[in-house]
Structures are given as C-alpha cells and as structure tokens.
C-alpha cells in the first residue's frame, strides 16, 4: 500500500526539506516505520522509548484523526496522511 505523508516542519530536517513524502504500509504504524527506514533519524521525532507514537503527535488519515487506534489504524492505497505536532506557543 502506498500513501502520502505530510510531514511537519520540525521533522523536515530528516526528509531533506520535503513536506510531502511517499510511504508504504497497511497501517499508520507501518507507514511511520517505513518513513524511519527511508529517512534515518526521524524515528526520534515519532516514537517514545516503548515504540509508541509520541503523545504530542497526531496522525490524520484522510483528514480524520487516527486516535485512539493510532499506530493500528488501517491505511489504504492512495490515502493521505498528515503528521501533526501539538503546538502550544502563543508567539
């Protein structure tokens, strides 16, 4: 399964500045692990030490949150994923 992943700017240092990248996987977790294979170092910004999605990240599949399934959420061919960072600054 091939999907597109929108990457937040704080993780684009690992994707060579690309805001949108291709990823393969049948679930959100598989897609994120595929990203980690393609873009070494990005996993530090995705997973905690137990391998769970960092609690201040959300992954949206076709504009809908994957929570609470998160990494287990199914992904179909052609789906659009958005990886978003919880943001708290007021400028």
């Amino acid at each position: 399964m091939s999907a597109t992943m929108n990457v937040p700017s704080n993780l684009r240092q690992f994707t060579g500045g690309q805001a949108v990248v291709e990823c393969d996987g049948k679930t959100v977790g598989e897609c994120l692990h595929d990203l980690a294979r393609k873009f070494p170092g990005i996993e530090m910004g995705l997973f905690d030490t137990d391998g769970k999605l960092l609690h201040y990240l959300d992954v949206y599949v076709n504009l809908e949150s994957s929570y609470p399934e998160e990494l287990d959420k199914a992904v179909k061919d052609g789906d659009e994923l958005h990886l978003t960072l919880f943001t708290v600054a007021g400028g």
Binding site: S9, A19, Y56, T87, G90
Partner: protein, 248 residues
C-alpha cells in the same frame, strides 16, 4: 446606539452584507477576554480593537524583552522592561479610544480564572503553555461561553473554535502535556493565526459566516498550504464529556 464618529470609523465593515449597523452594535456591546499579550495577543487585540469590540480585557504577567520584538508588534524598542499588558493597552487606546481596554498583569491560575473571566462573553486563547490553555478550556465549558484557540510553531500555526456542549473542545484535540522548550517562531505566523482568531471572534459576535468548529485549521507558511482536519467530540472527554452526555 452608534455615534456619528463610530458610523464613520466602521463605515467599511458596516457595508459588508450581513454585518450592518446591527452587527456593529453587537461588537460595541461585546466583552472579549484575551489570555496573553504576546505574538498572538498583540495581533488579536489590534484587530478586535480596530473592529470596535466594546471591551477587551488582556491578561499577561510578563514584561517585554528584546527577543519578543520580532513578533509582538504592539511592543516597541522603547517598551523593553514594561509590562506587556501596559504596552499593548496603551497602543490599543491610541488606535481606538472608543474601546474599553483593561490591562491585568497577572498569571492566570485555577484560583483566579473564574473571577478574571466573570462577565465576559467569550475567551480568546493566546497563551504560551498547555496547562493554562486547559484552564481556559475548562472555564469556557463551565461558563458556557465560546473559546477561540490558536497556537504557533515556526512557520506553522493552528486555529480551532469551540462552542461548549456543541463542538469538540481543546481536550478532545490534545492529550497530556507537552515538554517545555524554547519555541521558534517568525512574526508573520502569529500575525496570520491571530488574524484568523480575530476573524472568528468577529464573525461569532456579529453572527455571520461559518466558524472553525469541529475543525482544526493548520497553516503551513513554508508550503503556503491551509489544511482543515476534522476533530470529533469525544464522549469520554475529561473536560466536555459530561456536557456531551447531558445533551443526549
């Protein structure tokens, strides 16, 4: 009743279809509580005051530092060391003397938030930390008044509007806390996000257009893309779950 000066000052927005003198009267009567006088707070307050929102209360305990000036546009070089709320409200009064602007240089806490927000019609979130944002969310739900959320990071920002009991709340969107760090930000980001928050407030008061409810608008300034993500009310939400159940 609008004065002749007010009719002239707001002439261009009164001319908007669905706005009119009636909308301007609503703005004049409205009382907006603004949490934060930083990058978002400066922009939001500037445009609410310019639009003629009758009362604006700004709350922020911080003083101005040189490193604030790339984005907090109501604070100028000569203001370094002043309270942010004093600097901001002075400029706002000069922009629009008809608006009542209140400066409160206090930290918002669980102990004082109810009193600070008493009598206000809506809350605007321009805070710099999640715990205070959660306090604002809870008090908005408790008082059944709308809550306008915005936040920034670098060239990115996000906006969501919350109508208690009707739409997803901040706690439906976020979980837990976020590690504290120095957040990078360029001034145009809080300017854009703050303007969108101000537009939401004005539309809500006047009663026109559609609000960003059950939607999280994400702005990416590097790709210049706006994306609307869907946000659902959680029936087991720690903050609004009870309100959701009460509606059934």
């Amino acid at each position: 009743m609008l004065t002749d000066d007010e009719l002239e000052r707001y002439d261009r927005q009164i001319a908007i279809t669905g706005f009119g003198k009636e909308g301007q009267e609503k703005l004049k009567k409205a009382k907006a509580f603004l949490a934060g006088a930083g990058g978002l707070g400066c922009t939001i307050s500037l445009y609410l005051a310019a639009a003629g929102v009758g009362t604006i209360r700004m709350v922020d305990p911080q003083t101005i530092e040189l490193s604030n000036l790339n984005r907090q546009v109501l604070h100028w070089t000569e203001d370094i060391g002043r309270m942010k709320v004093d600097s901001a409200t002075e400029k706002l009064r000069r922009l629009n003397p008809d608006v009542k602007v209140e400066a409160i240089g206090q930290k918002i806490t669980a102990a004082n938030i109810s009193e600070l927000t008493a009598g206000f019609d809506l809350l605007v979130d321009a805070m710099d930390n999640l715990p205070t944002r959660y306090l604002l969310n809870k008090i908005a739900l408790e008082k059944n008044i709308p809550f306008f959320h915005g936040a920034v990071y670098g060239f990115e920002g996000r906006v969501m509007t919350i109508l208690p009991g009707q739409t997803a709340c901040l706690k439906c969107l976020y979980r837990g806390d976020i590690p504290e760090e120095k957040i990078p930000v360029v001034g145009v980001t809080p300017a854009i996000i703050g303007c969108i928050q101000a537009a939401e407030v004005i539309k809500y008061i006047v009663g026109i257009g559609q609000l960003l409810t059950n939607k999280l608008l994400i702005y990416d300034g590097l790709t210049m893309k706006f994306t609307e993500l869907k946000v659902k009310k959680k029936s087991d939400c720690e903050h609004c779950g009870r309100l959701v159940k009460d509606e059934k």
